[in-house]
Symmetry: C2
Subunit: 464 residues, 2 copies
């Protein structure tokens, strides 16, 4: 491949190389009593990569990880691409058969498993695997994962990357029907999305990021790479335990964490909840934050950012950018505005809401349509699944399956998953709209609205 003086292939590995160069002694990772500097993190990554190469890993060979948010899984986000492989970070909440399907479908040759999840794979037929490496997450020399690293070498591994559009990872996502689909991310997409997250969350070298969001979920929305890009500190977390998290907020002086509203609700209602000295930027996705939750977060000195995306969009694709003039509006109005999904990130194209002919719906906040997206924040397709790829990426756009409206100010707002719309008396009822109305009541924390068969109406909404 021609080497141009003015071009470097975009790869998030450069973020680790740079932070290890500039901040070698700075704390890169904290995990309980253990911590690693950027120099140490880089050396561990190169050990893992060089060991895999020595074992015969081929370019683009898949390497699977089944872990909670530990240093090992973070290291994998650099070591597997550094070795030239493709990372498959498996959702640890899946059942054994689903995990078996993913291992087989991805054709993974290596599997790294945290000790906690070892029972999940014991009953599986794993003949296709060359090696299974157990991670005790102890950091001690007898930990099989540490022994694996010890057999590698700490020097940088020569890159095999030729084109930034090569696949860096495959993230399996489960629909309601059928087998999980493997969403392919590119080096270019991972790089640009990581920078976007840095900009949207305001990460810098003083930031301390707490890993409440699973790293297996869209590669942790690319924060696995973004936090490293600015030389900030990753605080790992085996599980979301609100009491422990409140301790970490203070002991580690956390500045950022991400999660679904449920995570934030658990935290806001914990007995240890109190106003923090430092401000924490909290990014919320998965469902719109309720007015009650937003008010609570502010009281705790948390700055909420509401984003929206899917596995096929590297995690967040849109953000509800805050307008300074909203601050003077009544709380409920602020919450209503912030509950919208907003518009594309700085590296994303405009998100559109379209009718079945892929024409934009009216920007009237009422006409429903499907949300579609394309460009650098959209994945390459589904691994070895051309039918599903053709269907979901038809017409050059990714079809989210999410139903929303387009407001006059360009912001989009979700109304439902296509399959969740309740058809009652022939009329479409948005479950999200009913939910958003219910959560405005201060006595309601969270709610979910589903369709119940009804003799008169066909379906009728019920809240749980």
């Amino acid at each position: 491949m021609e080497q141009k003086v003015y071009r470097t292939e975009l790869t998030p590995l450069s973020f680790l190389e740079r932070s290890a160069l500039i901040f070698p002694d700075k704390t890169a990772v904290i995990h309980g009593e253990r911590s690693y500097t950027y120099q140490e993190m880089a050396e561990r990554v190169y050990r893992l990569a060089s060991r895999l190469r020595a074992l015969g890993l081929q370019k683009h060979e898949r390497v699977a990880f089944l872990c909670p948010n530990t240093p090992a899984l973070l290291e994998a986000h650099y070591a597997i691409p550094a070795a030239g492989g493709i990372l498959v970070a498996i959702n640890n909440r899946l059942s054994s058969p689903e995990i078996g399907f993913i291992l087989q479908h991805s054709g993974s040759k290596y599997l790294f498993v945290d000790h906690e999840f070892f029972p999940l794979i014991e009953a599986l037929n794993l003949e296709q695997l060359t090696q299974i490496i157990r991670i005790d997450d102890s950091g001690a020399p007898e930990d099989p994962y540490e022994q694996f690293l010890a057999a590698g070498t700490p020097e940088p591994v020569k890159s095999w990357l030729e084109d930034e559009e090569e696949t860096i990872s495959i993230n399996y996502t489960s629909g309601t029907t059928g087998n999980p689909k493997g969403v392919m991310y590119t080096y270019r997409g991972a790089y640009l999305n990581a920078l976007s997250e840095v900009i949207e969350s305001g990460l810098n070298s003083s930031s301390i990021y707490l890993w409440t969001l699973p790293m297996f979920h869209c590669n942790g929305w690319c924060f696995t790479w973004g936090v490293t890009a600015v030389g900030a500190t990753h605080v790992c977390l085996r599980k979301v335990d609100p009491s422990h998290i409140w301790e970490l907020f203070e002991s580690e002086k956390i500045t950022h964490y991400n999660g679904a509203p449920t995570v934030h609700i658990f935290l806001a209602h914990h007995p240890k909840a109190h106003r923090l000295e430092q401000q924490i930027t909290v990014t919320i996705a998965g469902a719109p934050p309720s007015p009650t939750l937003l008010a609570q977060l502010k009281q705790l000195n948390m700055r909420p950012i509401h984003v929206y995306g899917l596995t096929e969009t590297y995690g967040p694709y849109t953000v509800c950018e805050w307008h300074e003039e909203w601050a003077s509006l009544p709380q409920e109005e602020q919450a209503r505005l912030l509950a919208r999904q907003g518009q594309g990130y700085v590296t994303a194209e405009r998100a559109r809401v379209v009718d079945p002919n892929m024409q934009d719906v009216a920007w009237d906040g009422a006409t429903m349509g499907e949300v579609i997206m394309r460009g650098n924040n959209v994945a390459k397709g589904y691994y070895e699944n051309p039918e599903a790829t053709a269907r979901s990426f038809e017409g050059g756009w990714f079809h989210s399956g999410d139903i929303g409206v387009w407001h006059a100010d360009s912001y989009i707002e979700l109304r439902d998953r296509a399959k969740d719309v309740i058809i009652s008396g022939g009329e479409n009822i948005s479950t999200i709209e009913v939910e958003q109305t219910l959560v405005q009541h201060p006595a309601v924390l969270e709610c979910a609205v589903v369709a119940i068969p009804d003799e008169t109406w066909g379906n009728a909404p019920r809240h749980l």
Copy 2:
């Protein structure tokens, strides 16, 4: 060209499109009594672009601007690429013959000239130009520039961009000998550098950026695009008048400005200088800040960032990233550390200091070598000047002509321009090293050391 669902060509035009979409009513540009919202800025840009298209502008045709930091020159940074042309922003401090050379060499067909600089072109033979448009910078309907815009249309112009490696601008740079060379920037480079500046300077939608740095200089280090990327506000400035700038710091609540140490020194020593309520992030390039200046800036509530680069690197390429532990060191030691040029930006490759065989010099802070750079922060070459391109970009790296050392902590530090090294008694003397020693004296504000012929030593240093 194949349209991939997961790829959008990187272009900084997307930043304006996005900010006009998300922040239509937010102030994009302030210029004295005038101001434009993002919606207005976008419409003015499309008017300029559509008018040029209507006049027959061809793809990649050059369009020259000779202006101070006015809205017109900022608009040009979007309108010329939007039209499919290539922007040539000319240094307004050049002489008439130099400007004539640039117009001719670039083959510009259109020239936009601010009224203040009209005398500079009056004596030139401008036969090759299709049209000269005078900018009165009044914003009034009778301003010829405003009339030009009025003849255009405010709707988005269909993009002709096919490849992000196309040239977006040509920035002419003068060496000490020979004619100016036209440094070609790509859409990809402009985009990535703009994002880097956002991250390094910590720009966000609340930022108010003051245009002390000339926009003709490396396209304003890509801040022309970066400030827009986050929906921040540009405050234009016809000239660097310290008294006026101190007024703007307060009246416009400025949060960021950039410049050479001289600009900062003028400001720090002005009678109006006083500690500001808001913190201003000031990015310093062109020469290392002295300990005296750094101390003064801190007292004024300014946060200094020291960067280094050249026209061939889109402006800044390296940054002296701050280490928190430095804050506990004595002031002189902090200043000594911050006077170093540091290492590559987040989107840049490692800057190297090499011997004449392009081998890395020892990381000993003493061995001198040439600073070389490559990758996405390096320009494409010199326009229609293959000899100079071959020379400066030899071996796949851009040769800066700057002489520096490489410290053990990976940071580089400049010692001299290759041509400025003083050879006295057969020994190399770094003018910068002598200068840095002199400015440590609190009575010395600025100094420059040059070689003077000497009977005994050949050359000897003198400070001015």
